[in-house]
Protein backbone atom coordinates (compact mmCIF):
# COMPACT_ATOMS: atom_id res chain seq x y z
CA UNK A 1 0.00 0.00 0.00
CA UNK A 2 1.36 3.36 -0.95
CA UNK A 3 0.73 6.36 1.31
CA UNK A 4 -2.16 7.61 -0.81
CA UNK A 5 -3.92 4.27 -0.76
CA UNK A 6 -3.24 4.04 2.94
CA UNK A 7 -4.89 7.35 3.56
CA UNK A 8 -7.88 6.37 1.45
CA UNK A 9 -8.19 3.11 3.33
CA UNK A 10 -7.89 4.81 6.72
CA UNK A 11 -10.39 7.51 5.83
CA UNK A 12 -12.82 4.99 4.40
CA UNK A 13 -12.58 2.78 7.45
CA UNK A 14 -13.35 5.75 9.61
CA UNK A 15 -16.23 6.94 7.44
CA UNK A 16 -17.83 3.51 7.19
CA UNK A 17 -17.45 2.74 10.89
CA UNK A 18 -18.84 6.10 11.97
CA UNK A 19 -21.65 5.78 9.43
CA UNK A 20 -22.54 2.52 11.14
CA UNK A 21 -22.65 4.29 14.48
CA UNK A 22 -24.95 6.93 13.03
CA UNK A 23 -27.08 4.25 11.40
CA UNK A 24 -27.48 2.70 14.83
CA UNK A 25 -29.09 5.94 15.98
CA UNK A 26 -32.20 4.67 14.23
CA UNK A 27 -32.45 2.14 17.01
CA UNK A 28 -31.88 4.88 19.55
CA UNK A 29 -34.68 7.01 18.19
CA UNK A 30 -37.02 4.05 17.85
CA UNK A 31 -36.50 3.12 21.49
CA UNK A 32 -36.57 6.63 22.88
CA UNK A 33 -39.69 7.58 21.01
CA UNK A 34 -41.62 4.40 21.59
CA UNK A 35 -40.56 4.40 25.22
CA UNK A 36 -41.89 7.92 25.77
CA UNK A 37 -45.23 7.11 24.14
CA UNK A 38 -48.06 4.88 25.23
CA UNK A 39 -48.07 1.11 24.93
CA UNK A 40 -51.13 1.19 22.72
CA UNK A 41 -49.18 3.11 20.07
CA UNK A 42 -45.87 1.34 20.41
CA UNK A 43 -46.12 -0.83 17.29
CA UNK A 44 -46.96 2.21 15.26
CA UNK A 45 -44.03 4.25 16.48
CA UNK A 46 -41.63 1.37 16.11
CA UNK A 47 -42.89 0.75 12.59
CA UNK A 48 -42.55 4.43 11.72
CA UNK A 49 -39.05 4.72 13.07
CA UNK A 50 -38.03 1.52 11.37
CA UNK A 51 -39.45 2.08 7.93
CA UNK A 52 -38.33 5.70 7.84
CA UNK A 53 -34.76 4.67 7.15
CA UNK A 54 -35.81 2.44 4.29
CA UNK A 55 -37.82 5.30 2.85
CA UNK A 56 -34.91 7.66 3.36
CA UNK A 57 -32.55 5.26 1.61
CA UNK A 58 -34.75 5.21 -1.44
CA UNK A 59 -35.48 8.92 -1.43
CA UNK A 60 -31.86 9.94 -0.95
CA UNK A 61 -30.57 7.53 -3.58
CA UNK A 62 -33.05 8.53 -6.25
CA UNK A 63 -33.21 12.27 -5.64
CA UNK A 64 -31.90 13.65 -2.40
CA UNK A 65 -28.19 13.10 -2.76
CA UNK A 66 -28.14 14.66 -6.22
CA UNK A 67 -30.13 17.69 -5.10
CA UNK A 68 -27.89 18.15 -2.09
CA UNK A 69 -24.38 17.47 -3.34
CA UNK A 70 -24.67 17.33 -7.12
CA UNK A 71 -23.24 20.21 -9.07
CA UNK A 72 -25.83 22.89 -9.66
CA UNK A 73 -26.70 26.39 -8.55
CA UNK A 74 -26.23 28.07 -5.16
CA UNK A 75 -29.82 27.06 -4.47
CA UNK A 76 -29.92 23.43 -5.40
CA UNK A 77 -27.84 20.62 -6.89
CA UNK A 78 -28.94 19.24 -10.19
CA UNK A 79 -26.80 16.24 -10.95
CA UNK A 80 -26.05 12.77 -9.71
CA UNK A 81 -29.48 11.29 -9.22
CA UNK A 82 -29.34 7.53 -8.60
CA UNK A 83 -25.64 8.09 -7.90
CA UNK A 84 -25.10 8.38 -11.64
CA UNK A 85 -22.74 10.79 -13.37
CA UNK A 86 -19.00 11.08 -13.58
CA UNK A 87 -17.00 10.65 -10.41
CA UNK A 88 -13.37 9.77 -9.81
CA UNK A 89 -13.45 9.57 -6.03
CA UNK A 90 -11.47 8.99 -3.91
CA UNK A 91 -9.51 11.62 -5.84
CA UNK A 92 -9.63 14.85 -3.87
CA UNK A 93 -9.66 18.59 -4.31
CA UNK A 94 -8.42 19.66 -7.70
CA UNK A 95 -7.74 16.10 -8.72
CA UNK A 96 -11.41 15.34 -8.35
CA UNK A 97 -13.42 15.16 -11.53
CA UNK A 98 -17.08 14.49 -11.35
CA UNK A 99 -20.50 15.83 -10.54
CA UNK A 100 -20.18 15.94 -6.76
CA UNK A 101 -17.57 18.66 -6.50
CA UNK A 102 -18.99 19.85 -3.19
CA UNK A 103 -17.71 16.64 -1.57
CA UNK A 104 -14.26 16.76 -3.08
CA UNK A 105 -12.77 17.65 0.29
CA UNK A 106 -13.02 14.06 1.49
CA UNK A 107 -10.94 11.31 -0.02
CA UNK A 108 -13.17 8.27 0.14
CA UNK A 109 -15.04 6.36 -2.56
CA UNK A 110 -18.37 7.77 -3.69
CA UNK A 111 -20.31 4.90 -2.17
CA UNK A 112 -18.84 5.77 1.23
CA UNK A 113 -19.71 9.44 0.80
CA UNK A 114 -23.26 8.50 -0.05
CA UNK A 115 -23.61 6.02 2.78
CA UNK A 116 -22.33 8.51 5.32
CA UNK A 117 -24.59 11.31 4.08
CA UNK A 118 -27.54 8.95 3.89
CA UNK A 119 -27.43 8.12 7.58
CA UNK A 120 -27.51 11.84 8.32
CA UNK A 121 -30.50 12.36 6.07
CA UNK A 122 -32.22 9.49 7.82
CA UNK A 123 -31.65 11.17 11.17
CA UNK A 124 -33.44 14.32 10.07
CA UNK A 125 -36.45 12.27 9.04
CA UNK A 126 -36.54 10.23 12.19
CA UNK A 127 -36.72 13.34 14.35
CA UNK A 128 -40.14 14.11 12.94
CA UNK A 129 -41.48 10.73 13.91
CA UNK A 130 -41.49 11.33 17.63
CA UNK A 131 -43.06 14.77 17.54
CA UNK A 132 -46.06 13.69 15.49
CA UNK A 133 -46.48 10.37 17.25
CA UNK A 134 -49.68 8.88 18.63
CA UNK A 135 -51.99 10.52 16.10
CA UNK A 136 -50.48 10.57 12.61
CA UNK A 137 -51.51 8.17 9.88
CA UNK A 138 -48.82 5.66 9.01
CA UNK A 139 -49.10 6.24 5.28
CA UNK A 140 -48.95 10.01 5.62
CA UNK A 141 -45.85 9.76 7.73
CA UNK A 142 -44.19 7.60 5.09
CA UNK A 143 -45.15 10.08 2.41
CA UNK A 144 -43.92 13.06 4.40
CA UNK A 145 -40.64 11.34 5.13
CA UNK A 146 -40.13 10.71 1.46
CA UNK A 147 -40.67 14.36 0.59
CA UNK A 148 -38.47 15.48 3.44
CA UNK A 149 -35.52 13.35 2.43
CA UNK A 150 -36.02 13.64 -1.30
CA UNK A 151 -36.50 17.42 -1.45
CA UNK A 152 -36.61 19.54 1.69
CA UNK A 153 -33.56 18.27 3.56
CA UNK A 154 -31.41 18.21 0.40
CA UNK A 155 -32.21 21.79 -0.49
CA UNK A 156 -31.49 23.11 3.00
CA UNK A 157 -28.45 20.87 3.10
CA UNK A 158 -27.24 22.10 -0.27
CA UNK A 159 -27.23 25.66 0.98
CA UNK A 160 -24.93 24.84 3.88
CA UNK A 161 -22.95 21.81 2.78
CA UNK A 162 -23.53 21.22 -0.90
CA UNK A 163 -21.80 24.22 -2.36
CA UNK A 164 -24.79 26.52 -1.85
CA UNK A 165 -25.01 30.15 -0.88
CA UNK A 166 -24.93 29.71 2.89
CA UNK A 167 -21.73 27.77 2.91
CA UNK A 168 -20.21 30.32 0.59
CA UNK A 169 -21.30 33.06 2.99
CA UNK A 170 -19.24 31.47 5.74
CA UNK A 171 -22.01 29.71 7.62
CA UNK A 172 -20.53 27.09 9.94
CA UNK A 173 -22.39 23.98 10.89
CA UNK A 174 -19.82 21.28 11.25
CA UNK A 175 -21.93 18.19 11.85
CA UNK A 176 -25.42 19.51 11.40
CA UNK A 177 -27.04 21.32 14.34
CA UNK A 178 -28.92 23.22 11.68
CA UNK A 179 -28.72 21.00 8.66
CA UNK A 180 -29.85 17.84 10.39
CA UNK A 181 -31.41 18.73 13.72
CA UNK A 182 -33.10 22.02 12.98
CA UNK A 183 -34.39 20.87 9.64
CA UNK A 184 -35.85 17.84 11.35
CA UNK A 185 -37.12 20.10 14.11
CA UNK A 186 -38.79 22.66 11.86
CA UNK A 187 -40.45 19.90 9.86
CA UNK A 188 -41.64 18.44 13.13
CA UNK A 189 -42.91 21.77 14.38
CA UNK A 190 -45.09 22.38 11.34
CA UNK A 191 -46.37 18.83 11.66
CA UNK A 192 -47.23 19.35 15.31
CA UNK A 193 -49.07 22.57 14.54
CA UNK A 194 -51.01 21.21 11.61
CA UNK A 195 -51.88 17.92 13.31
CA UNK A 196 -52.94 19.44 16.60
CA UNK A 197 -52.43 17.92 20.02
CA UNK A 198 -53.35 14.39 21.06
CA UNK A 199 -56.86 14.00 22.43
CA UNK A 200 -56.96 14.81 26.09
CA UNK A 201 -53.48 16.33 26.24
CA UNK A 202 -54.69 19.80 27.06
CA UNK A 203 -57.63 20.26 29.39
CA UNK A 204 -59.79 23.31 29.90
CA UNK A 205 -58.20 26.30 31.59
CA UNK A 206 -54.69 25.65 30.33
CA UNK A 207 -54.49 22.37 32.15
CA UNK A 208 -51.75 20.09 30.81
CA UNK A 209 -52.46 16.39 31.21
CA UNK A 210 -49.29 14.38 31.23
CA UNK A 211 -49.35 11.20 29.18
CA UNK A 212 -46.48 9.22 30.64
CA UNK A 213 -44.27 7.11 28.44
CA UNK A 214 -44.77 3.38 28.76
CA UNK A 215 -41.22 2.09 28.87
CA UNK A 216 -38.46 4.08 30.50
CA UNK A 217 -36.09 1.17 29.93
CA UNK A 218 -36.46 1.63 26.20
CA UNK A 219 -36.15 5.39 26.53
CA UNK A 220 -32.93 5.12 28.52
CA UNK A 221 -31.38 2.53 26.27
CA UNK A 222 -32.39 4.60 23.29
CA UNK A 223 -30.67 7.66 24.67
CA UNK A 224 -27.50 5.72 25.42
CA UNK A 225 -27.51 4.42 21.86
CA UNK A 226 -27.95 7.97 20.61
CA UNK A 227 -25.07 9.17 22.78
CA UNK A 228 -22.97 6.37 21.29
CA UNK A 229 -24.14 7.25 17.82
CA UNK A 230 -23.04 10.82 18.30
CA UNK A 231 -19.46 9.59 18.52
CA UNK A 232 -20.02 8.70 14.89
CA UNK A 233 -22.06 11.76 14.07
CA UNK A 234 -19.61 14.42 15.19
CA UNK A 235 -16.16 12.87 14.97
CA UNK A 236 -17.20 11.11 11.77
CA UNK A 237 -18.06 14.39 10.11
CA UNK A 238 -14.36 14.90 9.57
CA UNK A 239 -14.81 12.22 6.92
CA UNK A 240 -11.12 11.61 7.39
CA UNK A 241 -9.04 9.78 9.97
CA UNK A 242 -7.60 13.02 11.29
CA UNK A 243 -6.26 11.87 14.64
CA UNK A 244 -6.15 15.19 16.45
CA UNK A 245 -9.50 16.39 15.22
CA UNK A 246 -11.49 13.25 15.87
CA UNK A 247 -10.08 12.93 19.36
CA UNK A 248 -10.93 16.49 20.23
CA UNK A 249 -14.39 16.25 18.76
CA UNK A 250 -15.13 13.02 20.61
CA UNK A 251 -14.07 14.66 23.83
CA UNK A 252 -16.07 17.84 23.26
CA UNK A 253 -19.10 15.86 22.26
CA UNK A 254 -18.95 13.80 25.40
CA UNK A 255 -18.39 16.72 27.74
CA UNK A 256 -21.33 18.65 26.30
CA UNK A 257 -23.56 15.62 26.70
CA UNK A 258 -22.48 15.14 30.30
CA UNK A 259 -22.99 18.80 31.07
CA UNK A 260 -26.40 18.82 29.43
CA UNK A 261 -27.38 15.78 31.43
CA UNK A 262 -26.33 17.25 34.76
CA UNK A 263 -27.78 20.67 34.05
CA UNK A 264 -31.17 19.31 33.05
CA UNK A 265 -31.17 17.04 36.08
CA UNK A 266 -30.44 19.93 38.39
CA UNK A 267 -33.00 22.22 36.81
CA UNK A 268 -35.71 19.58 36.79
CA UNK A 269 -34.92 18.68 40.38
CA UNK A 270 -34.97 22.25 41.62
CA UNK A 271 -37.78 23.57 39.48
CA UNK A 272 -40.08 20.58 39.28
CA UNK A 273 -39.32 18.89 42.57
CA UNK A 274 -37.91 15.56 41.40
CA UNK A 275 -35.24 14.40 38.97
CA UNK A 276 -37.49 13.31 36.13
CA UNK A 277 -35.70 10.65 34.10
CA UNK A 278 -37.21 11.83 30.84
CA UNK A 279 -35.69 15.24 31.48
CA UNK A 280 -32.31 13.72 32.29
CA UNK A 281 -32.41 11.95 28.96
CA UNK A 282 -33.61 15.00 27.05
CA UNK A 283 -30.90 17.10 28.71
CA UNK A 284 -28.20 14.81 27.44
CA UNK A 285 -29.58 14.91 23.94
CA UNK A 286 -29.86 18.67 24.13
CA UNK A 287 -26.17 18.90 24.94
CA UNK A 288 -25.37 16.61 22.05
CA UNK A 289 -27.47 18.53 19.55
CA UNK A 290 -26.04 21.84 20.68
CA UNK A 291 -22.42 20.73 20.36
CA UNK A 292 -22.99 19.28 16.90
CA UNK A 293 -22.30 22.49 15.03
CA UNK A 294 -19.44 23.87 17.14
CA UNK A 295 -17.71 20.62 18.20
CA UNK A 296 -14.68 21.15 15.98
CA UNK A 297 -13.96 24.78 16.75
CA UNK A 298 -14.55 25.25 20.45
CA UNK A 299 -12.53 24.38 23.52
CA UNK A 300 -13.50 21.63 25.89
CA UNK A 301 -14.44 24.20 28.50
CA UNK A 302 -16.71 25.92 26.01
CA UNK A 303 -18.24 22.55 25.24
CA UNK A 304 -19.10 22.14 28.90
CA UNK A 305 -20.67 25.58 28.93
CA UNK A 306 -22.63 24.95 25.76
CA UNK A 307 -23.85 21.63 27.11
CA UNK A 308 -24.90 23.22 30.37
CA UNK A 309 -26.90 25.93 28.65
CA UNK A 310 -28.51 23.31 26.41
CA UNK A 311 -29.55 21.33 29.45
CA UNK A 312 -31.21 24.36 30.97
CA UNK A 313 -32.83 25.34 27.70
CA UNK A 314 -34.37 21.97 27.08
CA UNK A 315 -36.26 21.88 30.35
CA UNK A 316 -37.57 25.37 29.76
CA UNK A 317 -38.52 24.47 26.22
CA UNK A 318 -40.53 21.45 27.29
CA UNK A 319 -42.52 23.59 29.67
CA UNK A 320 -42.87 26.30 27.04
CA UNK A 321 -44.23 24.04 24.33
CA UNK A 322 -46.73 22.65 26.81
CA UNK A 323 -47.80 26.14 27.73
CA UNK A 324 -48.39 27.16 24.12
CA UNK A 325 -50.24 23.89 23.60
CA UNK A 326 -47.89 22.37 21.09
CA UNK A 327 -48.02 18.67 21.83
CA UNK A 328 -44.71 16.93 21.27
CA UNK A 329 -44.86 13.56 23.04
CA UNK A 330 -41.11 12.95 23.14
CA UNK A 331 -39.61 16.42 23.39
CA UNK A 332 -38.22 16.39 19.87
CA UNK A 333 -38.83 20.11 19.39
CA UNK A 334 -37.12 21.01 22.65
CA UNK A 335 -34.16 18.82 21.88
CA UNK A 336 -33.59 19.11 18.15
CA UNK A 337 -35.16 22.37 17.12
CA UNK A 338 -34.38 24.57 20.09
CA UNK A 339 -30.90 23.22 20.63
CA UNK A 340 -30.17 22.87 16.96
CA UNK A 341 -30.76 26.60 16.74
CA UNK A 342 -28.85 27.26 19.92
CA UNK A 343 -25.88 25.16 18.87
CA UNK A 344 -25.62 26.94 15.55
CA UNK A 345 -25.81 30.25 17.34
CA UNK A 346 -23.19 29.12 19.85
CA UNK A 347 -20.69 28.77 17.02
CA UNK A 348 -20.87 32.51 16.62
CA UNK A 349 -20.11 32.99 20.29
CA UNK A 350 -17.59 30.30 21.15
CA UNK A 351 -15.70 29.57 17.94
CA UNK A 352 -12.04 30.04 18.77
CA UNK A 353 -11.65 31.34 15.26
CA UNK A 354 -14.22 34.06 14.69
CA UNK A 355 -16.50 33.73 17.68
CA UNK A 356 -17.70 36.80 19.54
CA UNK A 357 -16.14 35.70 22.82
CA UNK A 358 -12.84 35.14 21.07
CA UNK A 359 -12.62 38.58 19.63
CA UNK A 360 -14.12 37.68 16.29
CA UNK A 361 -16.77 40.34 16.46
CA UNK A 362 -20.33 40.00 15.20
CA UNK A 363 -19.64 38.85 11.65
CA UNK A 364 -19.78 35.13 12.21
CA UNK A 365 -22.63 35.44 14.65
CA UNK A 366 -24.73 37.29 12.10
CA UNK A 367 -23.95 34.76 9.40
CA UNK A 368 -25.05 32.05 11.77
CA UNK A 369 -28.28 33.88 12.47
CA UNK A 370 -28.86 34.29 8.79
CA UNK A 371 -28.39 30.59 8.26
CA UNK A 372 -30.69 29.69 11.13
CA UNK A 373 -33.40 31.96 9.81
CA UNK A 374 -33.09 31.03 6.17
CA UNK A 375 -33.07 27.29 6.72
CA UNK A 376 -35.86 27.60 9.26
CA UNK A 377 -38.08 29.67 7.03
CA UNK A 378 -37.54 27.45 4.03
CA UNK A 379 -38.07 24.21 5.94
CA UNK A 380 -41.16 25.44 7.72
CA UNK A 381 -42.72 26.71 4.52
CA UNK A 382 -41.89 23.66 2.45
CA UNK A 383 -43.00 21.31 5.22
CA UNK A 384 -46.27 23.16 5.64
CA UNK A 385 -47.00 22.73 1.96
CA UNK A 386 -46.34 19.01 2.14
CA UNK A 387 -48.33 18.54 5.35
CA UNK A 388 -51.29 20.45 3.94
CA UNK A 389 -51.07 18.58 0.68
CA UNK A 390 -51.22 15.32 2.55
CA UNK A 391 -54.00 16.55 4.77
CA UNK A 392 -56.15 17.44 1.81
CA UNK A 393 -55.38 14.27 -0.10
CA UNK A 394 -54.97 11.17 2.03
CA UNK A 395 -55.47 12.80 5.42
CA UNK A 396 -52.87 13.01 8.13
CA UNK A 397 -54.67 12.20 11.36
CA UNK A 398 -56.33 8.99 12.45
CA UNK A 399 -59.96 9.02 13.60
CA UNK A 400 -60.56 9.98 17.23
CA UNK A 401 -61.96 6.54 17.92
CA UNK A 402 -58.77 4.96 16.61
CA UNK A 403 -56.61 7.39 18.55
CA UNK A 404 -58.40 6.45 21.75
CA UNK A 405 -58.11 2.72 21.06
CA UNK A 406 -54.51 3.09 20.01
CA UNK A 407 -52.91 3.20 16.60
CA UNK A 408 -51.54 -0.29 16.95
CA UNK A 409 -54.95 -1.82 16.60
CA UNK A 410 -56.15 0.69 14.04
CA UNK A 411 -53.16 1.06 11.76
CA UNK A 412 -51.47 -2.30 12.15
CA UNK A 413 -54.04 -4.67 13.56
CA UNK A 414 -51.62 -5.88 16.17
CA UNK A 415 -50.27 -5.18 19.62
CA UNK A 416 -46.83 -4.49 20.94
CA UNK A 417 -47.09 -6.69 24.01
CA UNK A 418 -49.54 -9.42 23.13
CA UNK A 419 -50.24 -11.55 26.14
CA UNK A 420 -47.97 -9.48 28.33
CA UNK A 421 -50.36 -6.71 29.10
CA UNK A 422 -53.65 -8.14 30.08
CA UNK A 423 -55.31 -6.65 27.06
CA UNK A 424 -54.51 -9.46 24.75
CA UNK A 425 -53.83 -12.53 26.76
CA UNK A 426 -57.34 -13.84 26.87
CA UNK A 427 -57.98 -13.29 23.24
CA UNK A 428 -54.81 -15.02 22.35
CA UNK A 429 -55.47 -17.81 24.78
CA UNK A 430 -58.93 -18.10 23.39
CA UNK A 431 -57.71 -18.15 19.83
CA UNK A 432 -55.22 -20.87 20.49
CA UNK A 433 -57.20 -23.40 22.43
Amino acid sequence: MDPVQTKVALDTLWVVVTACLVFFMNAGFALLESGLCQAKNAVNILAKNFIVFAVSSLAFWTLGFGLMFGDGSPLVGMKGFFLSGADNSPAMADAYQGVFASLNWTGVPLAAKFFFQLVFAGTAATIVSGAVAERIKFLSFIAFSFFLVAFIYPVGGHWAWGGGWLGTAGFKDFAGSTVVHSIGGWAALTGVIILGPRLGKFGPGGKVNPIPGHNMGFATLGTLILWLGWFGFNPGSTMAADAALISTIALNTNMAAAAGCLAATAVAWLALGKPDLSMILNGTLAGLVAITAPCNIVTTTSSVIIGTLAGVLVVGAVLFFDRVKLDDPVGALSVHLVNGVFGTFAVGLFATDGGLFYGGGMALLLTQLKGIAAVGAFTAAASAIVWYGLKLSIGIRVAPEEEREGLDAGEHGMEAYAGLTSRASMNVAAANM
Binding site: R404, A409, G413, M414, E415, A418, S422, R423, A424, M426, N427, V428, A430, A431
Partner: protein, 112 residues
Protein backbone atom coordinates in the same frame (compact mmCIF):
# COMPACT_ATOMS: atom_id res chain seq x y z
CA UNK B 1 -76.52 -2.69 52.59
CA UNK B 2 -76.11 -3.35 48.92
CA UNK B 3 -73.28 -3.95 46.55
CA UNK B 4 -73.40 -2.27 43.19
CA UNK B 5 -71.21 -3.63 40.42
CA UNK B 6 -70.93 -1.59 37.25
CA UNK B 7 -69.12 -2.89 34.21
CA UNK B 8 -68.26 0.10 32.02
CA UNK B 9 -65.99 1.27 29.23
CA UNK B 10 -62.50 2.01 30.56
CA UNK B 11 -62.26 5.52 29.21
CA UNK B 12 -65.41 6.57 31.06
CA UNK B 13 -64.12 5.47 34.46
CA UNK B 14 -63.23 8.94 35.59
CA UNK B 15 -66.65 10.33 34.79
CA UNK B 16 -68.52 7.52 36.45
CA UNK B 17 -66.33 7.91 39.50
CA UNK B 18 -67.10 11.61 39.73
CA UNK B 19 -70.83 11.03 39.36
CA UNK B 20 -70.74 8.43 42.12
CA UNK B 21 -68.87 10.79 44.38
CA UNK B 22 -71.53 13.40 43.81
CA UNK B 23 -74.10 10.94 45.10
CA UNK B 24 -72.11 10.73 48.32
CA UNK B 25 -70.02 7.65 47.71
CA UNK B 26 -66.52 8.01 49.08
CA UNK B 27 -64.95 4.64 48.32
CA UNK B 28 -64.92 2.13 45.52
CA UNK B 29 -62.86 -0.70 44.16
CA UNK B 30 -62.00 -1.06 40.51
CA UNK B 31 -60.85 -4.09 38.51
CA UNK B 32 -59.68 -4.44 34.94
CA UNK B 33 -61.83 -7.07 33.30
CA UNK B 34 -62.61 -8.41 29.86
CA UNK B 35 -66.13 -8.35 28.57
CA UNK B 36 -67.89 -10.57 26.10
CA UNK B 37 -71.30 -9.71 24.76
CA UNK B 38 -73.32 -8.15 21.99
CA UNK B 39 -70.56 -5.72 21.18
CA UNK B 40 -68.51 -7.52 18.62
CA UNK B 41 -64.76 -7.34 18.80
CA UNK B 42 -62.51 -6.70 15.87
CA UNK B 43 -60.19 -8.87 13.89
CA UNK B 44 -56.44 -8.67 14.20
CA UNK B 45 -53.94 -10.21 11.83
CA UNK B 46 -50.55 -11.53 12.75
CA UNK B 47 -48.22 -12.70 10.06
CA UNK B 48 -51.07 -13.31 7.68
CA UNK B 49 -53.36 -15.25 10.01
CA UNK B 50 -56.42 -13.63 11.47
CA UNK B 51 -57.77 -13.92 14.93
CA UNK B 52 -60.80 -12.47 16.54
CA UNK B 53 -60.54 -10.22 19.55
CA UNK B 54 -63.72 -11.19 21.34
CA UNK B 55 -62.90 -10.16 24.86
CA UNK B 56 -62.93 -6.43 25.12
CA UNK B 57 -61.40 -4.35 27.88
CA UNK B 58 -63.85 -3.07 30.49
CA UNK B 59 -63.55 -1.94 34.05
CA UNK B 60 -65.64 -3.20 36.90
CA UNK B 61 -66.48 -0.72 39.64
CA UNK B 62 -67.60 -2.24 42.91
CA UNK B 63 -69.28 -0.11 45.54
CA UNK B 64 -70.76 -1.08 48.84
CA UNK B 65 -73.48 1.37 49.74
CA UNK B 66 -76.49 2.01 51.89
CA UNK B 67 -79.87 0.85 50.57
CA UNK B 68 -81.18 4.37 50.32
CA UNK B 69 -78.73 5.61 47.74
CA UNK B 70 -78.73 2.58 45.48
CA UNK B 71 -81.16 4.08 43.03
CA UNK B 72 -79.23 7.35 42.82
CA UNK B 73 -76.02 5.48 42.28
CA UNK B 74 -77.56 3.44 39.48
CA UNK B 75 -78.76 6.64 37.86
CA UNK B 76 -75.32 8.18 38.21
CA UNK B 77 -73.80 5.26 36.34
CA UNK B 78 -76.48 5.25 33.67
CA UNK B 79 -75.97 8.93 33.07
CA UNK B 80 -72.22 8.85 32.68
CA UNK B 81 -71.43 5.44 31.23
CA UNK B 82 -73.87 5.53 28.36
CA UNK B 83 -72.75 6.11 24.79
CA UNK B 84 -75.71 4.34 23.24
CA UNK B 85 -73.59 1.86 21.36
CA UNK B 86 -73.33 -1.88 22.01
CA UNK B 87 -70.96 -2.57 24.82
CA UNK B 88 -71.85 0.12 27.33
CA UNK B 89 -72.07 -2.53 30.02
CA UNK B 90 -74.25 -3.52 32.95
CA UNK B 91 -75.06 -2.67 36.49
CA UNK B 92 -75.68 -5.45 38.99
CA UNK B 93 -77.10 -4.90 42.46
CA UNK B 94 -76.95 -7.52 45.20
CA UNK B 95 -77.26 -7.65 48.97
CA UNK B 96 -74.51 -7.54 51.52
CA UNK B 97 -74.90 -9.20 54.90
CA UNK B 98 -72.12 -7.27 56.52
CA UNK B 99 -69.49 -4.63 55.88
CA UNK B 100 -66.45 -4.10 58.10
CA UNK B 101 -63.86 -1.35 57.94
CA UNK B 102 -60.56 -2.97 58.69
CA UNK B 103 -58.89 0.11 60.11
CA UNK B 104 -61.47 0.66 62.85
CA UNK B 105 -63.38 -2.64 62.96
CA UNK B 106 -66.55 -0.57 62.52
CA UNK B 107 -69.41 -2.57 61.09
CA UNK B 108 -72.50 -1.86 59.05
CA UNK B 109 -73.29 1.40 57.34
CA UNK B 110 -70.77 3.33 59.37
CA UNK B 111 -68.08 1.21 57.81
CA UNK B 112 -68.85 2.44 54.32
Amino acid sequence: MKKLEAIVRPHLLEEVKTALQEVGIVGMTVTEVKGFGRQKGHTETYRGSEYKVEFLPKVKIEVALGDEIVEQAVEAVLKTAKTGKFGDGKVFVSSLDEVVRIRTAERGESAL
